[in-house]
Subunit: 243 residues, 2 copies
């Protein structure tokens, strides 16, 4: 019986992978994943067997990975960002169920909240919420409730999946909910294609964010009441008194 | 003029550092940090100049790092976990203010939410909030409000700084607030000393967590309404329908 390791590769470039992720991918026999993520690592580990499935076939992908491990192979399933934050780690455990084998390990990676925050400055230096705007697997009403609660509790907020071709106006809808509680001039940020070609960062107000054209490569940050723009960086001070 | 890079080294072991963090520490001239974190990297980069300050002297530490950069040295300031999540990145930007120099860069690292989740299984596969229970820099009333809001919005919750010698009962107080909304049998987890000697993980109910003896090396996870224990792992399913 082989082992299945769910590996977060971070934003996509080699430098932002952990040493452990690099080692696991180097040691495994089979790399399984969504084809875009597999393509990010294919060159670095050319001697591996690669298995891919399309975007909406997540369960098939996990079943395939478990099956390869049952055949005796050491399998790495790659996820972008962290394997545990909107990644495949949960689904792999669900599909194995109460069986003790194959062994599963989760290798964490840099999630877009952390890698995106670093590009903008330091917007997450205090408490924050991470919320996905994708309603493919979550009712929109639940997303709305979470947005309203996070704003009400004065948390910084990170939005994953702020828009896609099928949901071009979701970021605008989210901003409208936040604007019921938060002021239009609340400092915000958006990053695109972190660690990849065409990487960009934008610091803007919540009012401007409402009209920002986000896509599926973007991650969006909404500041708390403490967040400020300092020297072009988006910063949420932690409250040290001797500053 | 040198450059100041604020480096998240992750939980503390070399394997969980990113390739980039390792490169920056290898290339810099001075490594600045809280002595515990500096000790975690001292052996690997023996030829560096090391500067440390005690725990509550965060602003002094950042001023020292900026001053070394102004003298022309390339400085790396090390933070455990991610440099931007309760780390020093924000304070460094605050203390530089609107000056354009020295150049600041933030190198993200694995924060305990991600590295701890990976040890427990996959508790953060859906939306979550990250809240510190330390009231050294935040009024306790604000922390209480955030806990209540996160529970009400059915977010998974990660608690940083759940207890310390001076705050032995804070986790209990937090659990009491959560138990106003959440059931006693809500699946939870706690990890201790991630990636270091004595690493441990515990899966338990919210009722049990109330009496768990946490310390400053622990990170605590409270599940959402979807979170389940599957084969000993704490898992928050994302909601894939074909499972």
């Amino acid at each position: 019986m082989g082992k299945l390791t769910v590996v977060g590769i971070g934003p996509g470039d080699y430098e932002n992978m952990t040493v452990r992720a690099d080692r696991v991918l180097g040691e495994c026999q089979v790399i399984v994943g969504y084809h875009v993520y597999v393509d990010l690592v294919r060159e670095r580990y050319p001697d591996k067997e690669f298995l891919t499935t399309p975007m909406t076939k997540e369960a098939d992908r996990c079943r395939m990975a478990l099956e390869e491990a049952r055949k005796g192979k050491d399998v790495a399933m790659v996820c972008s960002g962290d394997s545990g934050v909107y990644g495949m780690a949960g689904l792999v455990y669900q599909l194995r169920g109460e069986a003790a084998e194959p062994e599963i390990a989760v290798v964490p990676g840099l999630t877009a909240a952390c890698s995106g925050a670093a590009l903008l400055g330091a917007p997450l230096t205090h408490d924050f919420a991470v919320i996905s705007l994708s309603d493919r697997l979550t009712p929109w009403e639940k997303i709305e409730k979470r947005l309203a609660a996070a704003a009400e509790a004065d948390l910084s907020i990170v939005l994953y999946n702020p828009a896609s071709r099928g949901r071009p106006d979701y970021l605008q809808r989210a901003c409208d909910i936040l604007l019921r509680t938060l002021p239009e001039d609340r400092p915000c940020g958006a990053v695109r294609s972190i660690g990849r070609e065409g990487e960009s960062r934008t610091v803007l107000s919540l009012g401007e964010l409402r009209d920002f054209e986000a896509d599926m490569f973007c991650t969006v940050f909404i500041g708390s009441s403490q967040t400020r723009v300092i020297g072009g960086a988006l910063v949420t001070p932690r409250g040290y008194r001797d500053v």
